[in-house]
């Protein structure tokens, strides 16, 4: 009787919940589960690539594995983690609201995300696994037999609807539900970046939905979008696909940058340097992000000099990223920095490695150089430095930072630091050699390779195994701390100033007993040297 009672209450508490915090946690746990699957796929890929010949798995299985890996990591892990978990959990708390604007729609977003994810990952059970890469270029994706690509398309459509609903929810919430006194200039930078991210999703996803619908139509309804002999053109899909999927890379980095901007000031006990510059840089990235898509297509069949405008826009979009890096460094300058696990992840981790990914982007953005590096392991290294060295460091830093808030318990700091270093070294071992492999001539998405390249591939695989160990240790750390950790209290970092730290950990269901009145920016740290601190907070 007891168990049936508690089972019913678990259902009521979680399955029927419309509380943004619970929905956020469900997003986070689900996304982490998908991350483990995507990671497993990565281990299969790296294990195969230990040797140059056909080994371990068949060529077709290999192709299916990297397709699942890419699709899962981007659509089922990174985007839902950053928007679904961090966005959902933090935005209402940070702006002083009791929930999202549309709590039921919020729950619907989550369940659609779960549905979309399941449709993709059950494909192996039916033996119909997509094999066209996460980019699914036609005509290959149109000719690919079986239902694998159809499941892939259905999954992306459902995830797209989920993301659009989420984006609308965030935009309305941020625009209309800010607590009194929460002006745009006092808005936490994570909220700024999430607002931009939501607009990107809203404007971009329809292009992706259109693109993958042409695949579905060509596959089943006899249309000829990608059949040149009947007047179609495979490049149509590429343009539509990248019109969303380039901005999507900013969906995967902007919220992570927001996390970095929240964490550094707290542990430096110093205001964020150049608040407006950082906020407007996010807006600039979101806007410019829609003008660079064809830099993925420099050698795809455009005239070579048709790439020029996109080369220029790609160079321009690197500037706001550079601005942020310098502002974060300036925040650390003369700070009273303390290197807790989250601080390690966002400084040595994010700042240190995202810089590398940004710089390798410049090579890819220069048309003549991209002629060589495009579609090689160099590009694989580039986007893993931004996604794994950048976004992922932000995600992990963020998880450690808000862990005490979400669970009300402290995590184990010593273990956290060990995990950081293992993770940091593993990331570099895995992805640094890939730059050199690409330059030397190894194409991406290859099942076999010239024995020349064996050593560097083995180093990369070693790094991947290290990462796997780090991930297992992290799971242990989280589970153990959530159960046994020390009580965290409302504000374990002492003086963190965003609103979520003003209430208990974990926060009560309705968040705030009384809606707070905001009188200052959340970055009023530090001792004034020549002006009185009070004067600042009045302005």
């Amino acid at each position: 009787m007891n168990t049936s009672m508690s089972r019913r209450s678990v259902i009521r508490e979680w399955v029927f919940t419309v509380d943004h915090k619970k929905i956020g946690i469900m997003y986070g746990v689900t996304a982490l589960f998908f991350f483990l699957l995507g990671g497993l796929a990565a281990l299969i890929i790296r294990t195969k690539l230990l040797t140059p010949g056909p080994d371990v798995v068949s060529a077709d299985t290999f192709n299916q594995t990297f397709t699942l890996h890419g699709t899962i990591m981007i659509f089922l892990f990174m985007i839902p983690m950053l928007t679904g978990f961090f966005g959902n959990y933090l935005i209402p708390l940070m702006i002083g609201a009791r929930d999202m604007a549309f709590p039921r729609m919020n729950a619907l977003s989550y369940w659609l995300f779960l549905l979309g994810g399941l449709i993709l990952i059950i494909s192996p059970i039916f033996g119909a696994i997509p094999d066209a890469g996460w980019t699914a270029y036609p005509p290959y994706s149109v000719r690919s037999p079986g239902a694998g690509i159809d499941l892939w398309i259905s999954s992306l459509h459902i995830l797209g609807i989920s993301s659009i609903l989420g984006a609308i929810n965030f935009i309305v919430t941020i625009c209309t539900m800010r607590a009194p006194g929460m002006t745009w200039n006092r808005l936490p930078l994570f909220v700024w970046s999430s607002l931009v991210t939501s607009f990107i999703q809203l404007f971009g996803i329809p292009a992706l939905a259109g693109a993958i619908t042409t695949l579905l139509a060509d596959r089943h309804w006899g249309t000829v979008f990608s059949v040149p002999s009947a007047g179609g053109d495979p490049m149509l899909y590429e343009h539509l696909f990248w019109f969303y999927s380039h901005p999507a890379v900013y969906v995967m980095i902007l919220p992570a940058m927001g996390i970095v901007s929240e964490i550094i000031p707290v542990f430096a006990r110093k205001p964020i340097f150049g608040y407006r510059a950082v906020a407007y840089a996010s807006v600039a990235i979101g806007f410019l992000g829609f003008f660079v898509w064809a830099h993925h297509m420099f050698v795809a069949g455009m005239k070579v000099d048709a790439g020029t405008p996109f080369e220029i826009s790609s160079m321009v979009i690197a500037v706001p990223s550079a601005i942020k890096i310098f502002n974060w460094l300036a925040t650390m300058w003369r700070g009273a920095n303390v290197y807790t696990t989250p601080m390690l992840f966002v400084t040595i981790g994010f700042l240190g490695l995202f810089t590398i990914g940004g710089l390798s982007g410049v090579y890819a953005a220069a048309v003549p150089v991209d002629m060589h590096v495009h579609d090689t392991y160099f590009v694989v290294a580039h986007f893993h430095y931004v996604l794994f060295g950048g976004s992922m460091m932000g995600v992990l830093g963020g998880i450690y930072y808000w862990f005490p808030k979400v669970f009300g318990k402290k995590y184990n700091e010593t273990l956290g630091k060990w995990i950081f270093w293992l993770y940091f070294i593993g990331t570099n071992l895995t992805f640094m050699p890939m730059h050199f492999l690409g330059l030397a001539g190894m194409p991406r998405r290859v099942y076999t390779y010239d024995p020349h390249y064996t050593l560097f591939n083995q180093i990369a695989t070693l790094g991947a195994y290290m990462l796997a160990v780090a991930v297992l240790m992290m799971i242990y750390n989280f589970v153990h701390s959530a159960l046994r950790g020390e009580e965290a209290g409302a504000n374990p970092w002492g003086d963190a100033q965003t609103l979520e730290w003003t209430i208990s950990s974990p926060p009560p269901a309705h968040n705030f007993d009384t809606i707070p009145v905001v009188t200052a920016s959340p970055y009023e740290f530090g001792v004034s040297e020549w002006v009185k601190k009070e004067q600042h907070s009045i302005q």
């Binding site: 000719r143 500037v319 040297e529």
Partner: protein
């Protein structure tokens, strides 16, 4: 064949120009990289909280600095873009009177057709000291024609012709790689490129012409050069397409469940029009081969010999 962890030796003038740009970007990248990482490490070491009550100074920003670190990266990037424009133009504009090679990618081999009609598969011989223009297309899915040592890459897109030119001055051996993922044997979609002196090239070309006239005699050679064996085995082993061992005269089950006997008519149709009858358990991915009657006959004879 060059180093295994850095750019391979550039062998054309164009490749050398691309490398110059590459090294300019590299110098800039190294300087920015060192700047950021040194500042980061310095701040990490230097500015640590010494006692629990310590706070940093309440500095909110600085307009002058903000302008400096916006303008300088912008300037550097604009310079990089501008110096790449002449090179883009050079890549874009093939010299007049180039020797034109028609390149066709297909799952999973490369076909090269010379101006005089001679066609080779997975092997491309080129004369040194001549301007060459590759006209690239595909007969099925998207591939990408990449010659790493030449720093040139263009996708092979069905229904579209892309172009890239080159001129090479020394004899040597290189490899074409397919850079765009194209299915099961993507990583095996390689072709050999041999550049040779004029006289050697002419001699080779004459030999090819003679061979072309008498071609069709040797079915075994044909199926090798056409790349058929990347999908069909001759020893009964599993592959992308049905094995040829014992195929002739056998009963074949088709996708719709019906059966046919693999006689000459069926086999011929399967070669020139592979989509007409698809074997159960396989998918319709083979591209039709363009062959004359003599060549078809030679292949049929070879297939029969496998029983």
């Amino acid at each position: 064949m060059g180093s295994s962890f850095w750019l391979p030796q550039p062998i054309t003038d164009l490749a050398k120009s691309v490398d110059s740009l590459f090294y300019i970007i590299t110098w800039v990248a190294v300087v920015i990289f060192l700047l950021v990482e040194i500042l980061l490490v310095t701040f990490v070491i230097r500015y640590r909280r010494k006692h629990p009550k310590q706070e940093g100074p309440a500095i909110h920003g600085n307009h002058r600095l903000e302008i400096i670190w916006t303008a300088i990266p912008a300037l550097i990037l604009v310079v990089i873009a501008v110096i790449s424009f002449p090179l883009v133009n050079k890549i874009q504009t093939p010299p007049k009177d180039s020797m034109e090679i028609q390149v066709t990618g297909r799952m999973w081999s490369w076909e090269f057709r010379y101006p005089n009609g001679v066609t080779t598969y997975n092997e491309l011989r080129l004369p040194v000291g001549k301007d060459l223009l590759f006209r690239i297309t595909s007969s099925d899915v998207i591939h990408s024609f990449w010659l790493p040592e030449w720093r040139i890459k263009q996708d092979a897109v069905p229904g579209r012709e892309t172009q890239i030119w080159a001129r090479i001055d020394k004899p040597g051996t290189y490899e074409v790689k397919c850079a765009e993922y194209c299915g099961t044997n993507h990583s095996q979609m390689l072709a050999k490129v041999i550049t040779m002196n004029d006289s050697e090239f002419d001699a080779w070309m004459n030999e090819q012409k003679k061979k072309a006239e008498s071609q069709g005699v040797n079915g075994q050679q044909l199926v090798q050069t056409l790349g058929c064996l990347s999908c069909h085995s001759t020893d009964g082993s599993q592959s992308v397409g049905p094995t040829w061992k014992g195929l002739f005269g056998s009963k074949v089950t088709l996708q719709d469940g019906s059966t046919v006997t693999a006689d000459e008519a069926y086999l011929k149709e399967s070669i020139v029009q592979p989509g007409a009858k698809v074997v159960q358990g396989y998918s319709n991915i083979m591209t039709p081969a363009q062959l004359n009657d003599q060549q078809v006959k030679a292949i049929l004879d070879y297939l029969k010999s496998l029983n």
